[in-house]
C-alpha cells in the first residue's frame, strides 16, 4: 500500500526529473575525468566526444599513477593527516562550541569575535608567518606541520555551536544533576546530540584537508611525507605538457576514498537525532 504520508506520484516524478538533471550536470566533470583516465594520450583530444576509448589504456594510466609516484604511500599519509586533524579539531572545537552555545561567561563576545575572525581570515593570509613559526619550532617537513595549523577550526566551532544551541536546556540540566562535570557533559550528552553536525563537519574537514595542496607544498620537503594531491600533481606540467591520463587516474584514485567516506557518513545522516526524550 502506498502511504498517504508519502508525496504524490506527480511530486515524485518531478523530484526525479529535477534531481536527475541536476545530478547529471554535477557529475559531468567526473564522467569526463573517469573517461579520460581510461584513455591513451593520443585519444584524449580527438574530435567529437567519446566516453569510452578505442584502445583501453586504463591499466597503463592507473599503473603509472600508482607507480611513478608512491601514491599508495601518499594515500596513507593523507589518511593519517586527515584523521589526526579531524580528531584534534573535534576535541578542540566541540567544547568551545558548547561554551559559546550554552554558557555565559566573561569575555564571551570577545572570544566569539575572535572565532568569527579566524573563520573569515583566509589561511593564505597567515601562511608565511605560520611557516616561519613552524620553522622555529623545528616542525617543518614533518606530518605535524600538516596538522598543527588546522587544529583550531573556527569553522567547526561555528558549525557545532549553531547545532548545540538547538539542544534543549533541560537535557543539559539533567546531565548536570546526574553528576556530570561540564567536560564530561560535552562528550556524553552534547556530542551524541550534535551528531548530524559532527558528521557534516567531519565530511568537510576530511574533504578539505585531503585535497589541500598549497600547504603541504609549502612545508613538505621530503617526498615520503607528501599527501595525495601532491602525488597527482606529479603529472601536471605546464612547461612540458600535462600527462592527462595518469593525472586523471590519480585524481580518481584520490577521490575514491572520499567517496567511500561520504557514503558511510551520509548513512549516518539518515538516522539523525530525534530529540524526542524531551517534551515541549
Amino acid at each position: 500500500m502506498t502511504s498517504p504520508l508519502q508525496p504524490s506520484l506527480a511530486w515524485r516524478i518531478f523530484r526525479h526529473v529535477v534531481l536527475m538533471s541536476g545530478a547529471v550536470v554535477f557529475l559531468l566533470p567526473f564522467v569526463w575525468m573517469v573517461s579520460t583516465s581510461l584513455k591513451p594520450a593520443d585519444e584524449i583530444f580527438t574530435e567529437g566526444l567519446r566516453l569510452l576509448p578505442e584502445r583501453w589504456a586504463a591499466i597503463e594510466n592507473y599503473r603509472r599513477a600508482l607507480t611513478d609516484v608512491p601514491l599508495l604511500r601518499y594515500l596513507w599519509n593523507g589518511v593519517l593527516v586527515c584523521a589526526a586533524i579531524l580528531v584534534l579539531q573535534i576535541v578542540v572545537a566541540l567544547p568551545a562550541a558548547y561554551c559559546f552555545a550554552k554558557l555565559k561567561f566573561a569575555g564571551k563576545r570577545l572570544s566569539w569575535t575572535l572565532v568569527m575572525l579566524s573563520l573569515m581570515i583566509p589561511f593564505q593570509a597567515t601562511a608565511i608567518p605560520l611557516y616561519i613559526m613552524l620553522y622555529h619550532a623545528g616542525l617543518l617537513d614533518t606530518l605535524a606541520a600538516l596538522v598543527i595549523p588546522f587544529i583550531a577550526s573556527a569553522f567547526g566551532i561555528f558549525l557545532l555551536r549553531q547545532f548545540i544551541a538547538g539542544v534543549p536546556d533541560d537535557l543539559i540540566h539533567a546531565a548536570r544533576l546526574d553528576g556530570m562535570r561540564e567536560f564530561e557533559l560535552v562528550w556524553r550528552v552534547i556530542m551524541p546530540a550534535a551528531k548530524p553536525a559532527l558528521i557534516a563537519f567531519s565530511i568537510f574537514s576530511v574533504v578539505w584537508h585531503w585535497n589541500d595542496y598549497f600547504w603541504p607544498l609549502l612545508v613538505i620537503n621530503t617526498m615520503d611525507l607528501a599527501t595525495p594531491p601532491l602525488g597527482t600533481m606529479f603529472f601536471k606540467n605546464e612547461e612540458a605538457g600535462t600527462d592527462f591520463g595518469p593525472l586523471m587516474a590519480g585524481t580518481v584514485i584520490i577521490t575514491l576514498p572520499l567517496l567511500v567516506f561520504f557514503l558511510i557518513a551520509q548513512k549516518r545522516f539518515i538516522e539523525g537525532v530525534t530529540l524526542s526524550g524531551v517534551k515541549g
Binding site: H173, R176, G179, M180, T274
Partner: protein, 377 residues
C-alpha cells in the same frame, strides 16, 4: 544536613517576573509539596534549588553553606524534569544508570573503552545495571531496558525520568509532576513507592504536583504558590481545613470551594433569611464551604442553602450537583450517589458551621468565632 532557607528570591525573564520575593524554609528530610496554578513558578523554584538557574536577587542557604556558590553537581540534587529531559541517544538502561556511572566510576574509568581495559569497570557496570534494573522493575519499565526514548510511550518516558532520579541517593530529590502521564493504578503504586523511598532515605523531597490527592496523601507539608509567592505553607490538613487565603481554599479541594459574597455583613440572596454572624465573623467579606461539606439532613446552627438543581453529574461513587439559589451564584455540591436529587428538582442543603470559612476583602482568612473553630491546629 540542614534546612534549606530561601530568602526573598526574585527571578524574572525579561519583563516577566516569575518569582516575586519568595521566602521559604524547607526542613531537612521533609517531604514538601508545591501546589499552585499552572505558570505560578513551581518549576522555576525547583530549578533554583537544583542550581540550574540563579535568582536575580535573594539568597539560598543550607545551614552555613551559601548554595548560590555551589554548582549543581555540588548541591547533589536529583530531579525529575517536567519535560523528562531524557538523553535521546541513550537506551533506557543508560538513561537510568548514568547517575550511577557518574558516582561509581572514577574519571578514568568512565572514559570510553575503559570497560575493555579494566575488569573492575565491567564489574561496576554490572553492579550499576543491576541497581538500575531493580528500580526499573518497581516502575514497570524493565522490559524496555534497551529501547531508546523515541521508542517509548509518554508514560514510559516519564517513568524512565523517574527511575533516573530514584536510582540515586542525593541529599535532595526534586520531582516536577513526575506522575502526570500515568494511569491511576500506576500512579497510586508509584506514590507509595516514592513515599517509601522518602521514609527509607530520610532525604529532603520537594515535589510538584497538580494532583491534590497526591499532595494531600504524600506530603509532610504543602506550600501553595501563586504568582511567584507562597500563599500558605502547612500540613495537608491545615491547608485543607484552614486555608490561609481565599485562593488557597479555591485551589485546594475538588470540586472547588463555593464562595458566597457577604455584602458588608449582609448575606447574598440565598442567605437572606439566616443570620450568618454566628457562622463567620462580621469582618468576613466572603463565606466559603466545600462541596463535600453539604448535608441533606438539617443540622442545627448550619448554613442553609436552597435552590434548584441545574446540573447533576455522575462521577462514579458520587454525584456532583449544581444548585442555583434564587438570584445568587450557583453552588456546587457533592452528594452521595444514592438518593441524590435529579435535575430540575428543588433542593435544600445544610453546611455545618465548622465547615464554613470566612475571608476578608483582600482574601485572607478571618479567624473563625470560637464555636466554629476548625479542629486543625
Amino acid at each position: 544536613m540542614a534546612d534549606i532557607h530561601l530568602q526573598d528570591i526574585r527571578k524574572g525573564y525579561g519583563a516577566t517576573q516569575v518569582l516575586d520575593g519568595l521566602s521559604l524554609t524547607i526542613r531537612d528530610g521533609e517531604f514538601l509539596t508545591l501546589l499552585g496554578a499552572s505558570g505560578c513558578g513551581k518549576s522555576t523554584l525547583l530549578k533554583l534549588l537544583a542550581g540550574l538557574e540563579l535568582p536575580d536577587t535573594g539568597s539560598i542557604r543550607r545551614g552555613d553553606d551559601d548554595l548560590l556558590r555551589q554548582s549543581p553537581a555540588e548541591r547533589d540534587c536529583a530531579m525529575v524534569f517536567q519535560s523528562y529531559a531524557l538523553y535521546p541517544h541513550m537506551t533506557v538502561r543508560d538513561n537510568v544508570c548514568t547517575p550511577l556511572y557518574m558516582r561509581m566510576l572514577g574519571f578514568w574509568q568512565r572514559l570510553p573503552g575503559a570497560r575493555w581495559l579494566d575488569p573492575r569497570v565491567r564489574r561496576q557496570l554490572r553492579e550499576a545495571h543491576a541497581q538500575g534494573l531493580a528500580v526499573a522493575r518497581t516502575l514497570g519499565i524493565d522490559h524496555l531496558w534497551l529501547r531508546r526514548p523515541a521508542q517509548l510511550s509518554g508514560g514510559q518516558r516519564q517513568r524512565v525520568a523517574l527511575a533516573r532520579a530514584m536510582v540515586r541517593r542525593p541529599s535532595v530529590f526534586l520531582f516536577d509532576e513526575p506522575l502526570s502521564n500515568l494511569d491511576a493504578n500506576l500512579r497510586q503504586a508509584l506514590r507509595a513507592e516514592i513515599r517509601q523511598l522518602h521514609d527509607q532515605l530520610g532525604r529532603t523531597f520537594v515535589y510538584v504536583t497538580h494532583d491534590q490527592h497526591e499532595a494531600m496523601s504524600m506530603s509532610d507539608r504543602v506550600a501553595v504558590m501563586k504568582q511567584g509567592r507562597i500563599l500558605q505553607l502547612g500540613t495537608p490538613t491545615e491547608i485543607y481545613e484552614a486555608p490561609a487565603h481565599r485562593d488557597v481554599a479555591a485551589f485546594v479541594g475538588s470540586p472547588r470551594m463555593n464562595f458566597l459574597t457577604l455584602a458588608a455583613g449582609q448575606a447574598g440572596p440565598a442567605l437572606q433569611d439566616q443570620p450568618v454572624g454566628h457562622i463567620v465573623p462580621r469582618e468576613a467579606a466572603q463565606l466559603g464551604f466545600r462541596p463535600h461539606a453539604a448535608r441533606l439532613a438539617p443540622e442545627p446552627g448550619a448554613l442553609r442553602v436552597a435552590g434548584r438543581v441545574v446540573q447533576a453529574e455522575f462521577t462514579g461513587a458520587e454525584r456532583m450537583v449544581t444548585l442555583q439559589p434564587e438570584g445568587g451564584e450557583p453552588v456546587v455540591l457533592v452528594l452521595p450517589a444514592h438518593g441524590a436529587p435529579a435535575r430540575g428538582e428543588d433542593l435544600v442543603v445544610y453546611v455545618p458551621a465548622h465547615a464554613c470559612h470566612g475571608f476578608d476583602a483582600r482574601g485572607w482568612r478571618v479567624p473563625a468565632v470560637p464555636a466554629a473553630q476548625p479542629r486543625a491546629a
